[in-house]
């Protein structure tokens, strides 16, 4: 149903075209549909998908090996970690051009933006540190030592806690974002890739690629793993079930977990931790993003080079959109 109502929106908009024309002339972007940005790791580009037509409308050239993306707090820029250039490219969201680039330290992979300060957190896999950059002053604020191969980063909604996962140490390092120091270290499943806080900040969900599991950390008191979710996709070899991207709906209902080369997205009840369903998507599904009203879920499928669009109401894959080679990250403009 949400899909149908979205499809009918353009017709409604035509009726009011005359009224809004003046505004459109001043700021044409207002009338644009939601935009979805996809980083193509092998093509050194970011594909821009129109949220209404579900087609690629623009391909932005960026630095080498683009992976994680994040929006600046004011929503004017898109940051892209370009690993082989050891930098963060910053894309102006009006012109869709890379307008500046900030040095980030070795091999940046995952980035997160602080909700309160103009800080950008970067995991530097080769140096066992998380770098903290000030993207306004364009300076390096500090470096936080963690375990071997930091990868996933998650930040609590209030900005108090940062979680860095280390792929070889197999740990979630819980960092006090005020003190800029790792204060708790918790073992999780093998090769942890991603950390995502629930919208109320009480839990952090950490996915482990090789173990194929999600560890749920209590972020209120103990900071321990309070629950572990395992996946068993019928008819699929256990080894190919690898947990990577995680998104959580803001109403606390669903969690979605990308299961890598098993080509499935798991649907989980956020409250009971029960796995409700597996949705077949493209090959080697890596990261996920919900759109603004959380009616759609977008997945990047690295091997098949496309994005699957899932309708959240009904939990159905409704479309694949071809993008560049090895799509890695996906993010929807707020």
């Amino acid at each position: 149903m949400p899909l149908l109502s979205q499809l009918t929106t353009p017709a409604g908009r035509h009726a009011t075209l005359g009224l809004t024309l003046g505004i459109l002339l001043i700021w044409p972007l207002v009338a644009q549909a939601e935009r979805i940005f996809v980083s193509n790791e092998k093509d050194n580009t970011v594909s821009v998908i129109d949220g209404e037509t579900l087609e690629v409308v623009e391909t932005i050239s960026v630095g080498r090996r683009p992976r994680a993306m994040a929006f600046s707090s004011d929503g004017s820029e898109l940051f892209v970690a370009v690993g082989d250039d050891e930098a963060i490219d910053m894309i102006d969201l009006e012109t869709l051009q890379v307008v500046r680039s900030q040095s980030s330290g070795d091999d940046p992979e995952v980035i997160r933006v602080d909700p309160n300060r103009p800080y950008l957190y970067v995991s530097n896999e080769d140096d066992n540190i998380v770098s903290v950059l000030d993207y306004e002053a364009r300076t390096l604020v500090t470096e936080i030592p963690v375990g071997v191969e930091p990868e996933g980063l998650g930040i609590s909604p209030d900005g108090r806690w940062l979680i860095a996962t280390t792929e070889t140490s197999n740990m979630a390092h819980i960092i006090d974002a005020e003190a800029m120091e790792a204060v708790h270290h918790r073992l999780v499943g093998a090769r942890p890739r991603h950390a995502e806080f629930t919208h109320d900040g009480r839990e952090a969900w950490v996915s482990s690629e090789i173990a194929g599991m999600v560890s749920i950390l209590d972020m209120e008191e103990t900071f321990d793993v309070k629950h572990t979710i395992r996946f068993d996709v019928p008819g699929v070899p256990r080894e190919t079930v690898q947990a990577v991207g995680v998104v959580l709906t803001s109403d606390g209902r669903y969690a979605f977990v990308a299961l890598g080369p098993s080509n499935r997205v798991a649907v989980i009840d956020q409250q009971t931790y029960e796995v409700l369903d597996y949705i077949l998507v493209g090959q080697r599904v890596w990261h996920l993003a919900l759109n603004g009203d959380e009616s759609r879920l977008y997945t990047t499928n690295g091997v098949s080079g496309d994005v699957t669009v899932i309708e959240v109401d009904g939990l159905r894959a409704v479309k694949s959109i071809p993008v560049g080679r090895f799509p890695w990250g996906v993010i929807v403009e707020p």
Partner: protein, 403 residues
């Protein structure tokens, strides 16, 4: 440059503990460290790679163990654990028992072996070993995983059979099913030729003909050798029946490198040269492997080899089991290593774990050219009731190993 010594040489007298200063930050009540000993053997003088482009290495394996200790300690610092490595290398023909004893005297509770098969058997039979566990990171010998297996012997390097099966699966995927086989005149190459034949049979290939290359291993550095090679090889392979691929079995690398582009029929060269099946290769960068390659190169100032990788896997297996169990107790660690829960991330896309029936590490195998990885086996479509990884090497039912 190499220091010659008639008896056993100690590479490093002291211990190699991370080198990053973490050990000093551990609290005073830290439990005893987990002490490993790396036992290697000097490379035979006449064993150098045929191509002058390949470096001559005298620290293969050892550097992988050192990196494993670094990686373990980076995690162990958060868990009040510590790993220490002692190192020993024996000269050709020297007593491995003495070297083993030396490591044990220094406190080594776990042994990582870079030894060839015969020397490793000596170690396994040596009374000083006690019930210590040995990780074989040096020899692909199938007998050590079969009739000569030992309950305290674990293998992180793939067996010959695993490598042969990995290649056979890829050739099956390509539908290159008619093989002509050329093997060397060493014992290892004769065994490898038999292993390749078994793999061919398992995966539906046909060996249409085979020949032994009678090359004298002493004459490998003749100037302008290609003049002769260019004439010699086409003639040598001319009488082999029509085939899809030419399979070379030359583990010591004394003639196989001559074959690509010199064949009579325009056919790819695979096996130990040309397209090879291997546990590790510098061209491998998927699944985060680029991070391991970079860490290794920073430490060792050279590329990581399959032997380095096997030693790294051995040390990391211990690190993983000790971290998960929170224990340094030998039995606890071994129980965990052999259990269902044990899954080590080996930068190969799938978790690696130990086969309970012969203690071989099940692992994906790279199929690679000299400069680019072509594929990774097991190939899609080769099924196995337990895990596709068990389609490589001796399976539970067929292994002659009985602990």
């Amino acid at each position: 440059m190499r220091i010659k010594s008639p008896t056993l040489r100690w590479l490093v007298a002291g211990s190699f503990a991370a080198g990053l200063g973490w050990s000093s930050t551990l609290p005073a009540d830290t439990p005893a460290p987990i002490t490993l000993g790396y036992l290697g053997m000097e490379r035979p003088d006449d064993r150098e790679p045929l191509s002058v482009l390949a470096p001559v290495l005298d620290d293969e394996g050892l550097q992988g163990a050192r990196l494993g200790i670094n990686d373990n300690n980076a995690t162990a610092q958060f868990l009040d654990q510590e790993f220490v490595l002692h190192e020993a290398e024996v000269a050709q023909g020297d007593d491995v028992g003495e070297a083993l004893q030396g490591l044990i005297d220094q406190g080594a509770d776990w042994i990582v072996s870079g030894l060839p098969a015969e020397a490793l058997l000596e170690v396994m039979a040596h009374p000083a070993l006690g019930d210590r566990v040995v990780f074989n990171a040096g020899t692909p010998d199938d007998a050590l995983r079969g009739e000569s297996c030992h309950p305290n012997l674990y293998h992180t390097t793939p067996s010959r059979r695993m490598l042969a099966d990995a290649l056979a699966q890829f050739l099956g995927y390509k539908q290159w099913e008619r093989w002509a086989l050329v093997y060397g005149n060493t014992d290892e190459d004769r065994i490898l030729a038999e292993t390749l034949k078994a793999a061919a049979e398992r995966y539906g290939h046909r060996i249409v003909g085979d020949k032994m290359w009678p090359h004298d291993p002493m004459a490998r550095r003749a100037e302008g050798g290609f003049h002769a090679i260019q004439r010699e090889i086409p003639v040598f392979v001319q009488d082999l029946p029509e085939h899809d691929v030419l399979v070379i079995a030359d583990e010591t690398d004394y003639f196989g490198e001559y074959f690509p582009f010199q064949t009579w029929a325009p056919r790819p060269v695979v096996g130990t040269q040309g397209l090879v099946a291997t546990a590790w290769h510098r061209a491998h960068e998927s699944w985060g492997a680029v991070q391991l390659q970079r860490r290794f190169e920073k430490l060792a100032d050279r590329w990581m080899t399959p032997r380095d990788f096997a030693a790294w896997l051995a040390v990391r297996s211990l690190g993983e089991a000790a971290a998960r169990t929170g224990s340094v107790d030998r039995e606890t660690v071994i129980d965990y290593m052999l259990g269902e829960e044990f899954e080590l991330a080996g930068y190969l896309g799938l978790p690696v774990s130990y086969r309970t029936w012969n203690h071989q590490l099940r692992q994906p195998i790279l199929v690679t050219g000299p400069r680019m990885v072509a594929s990774v086996s097991p190939q899609e479509g080769y099924l196995h009731p337990r895990t596709p990884l068990d389609s490589l090497g001796a399976d539970e039912g067929e292994s002659p190993c009985r602990f």
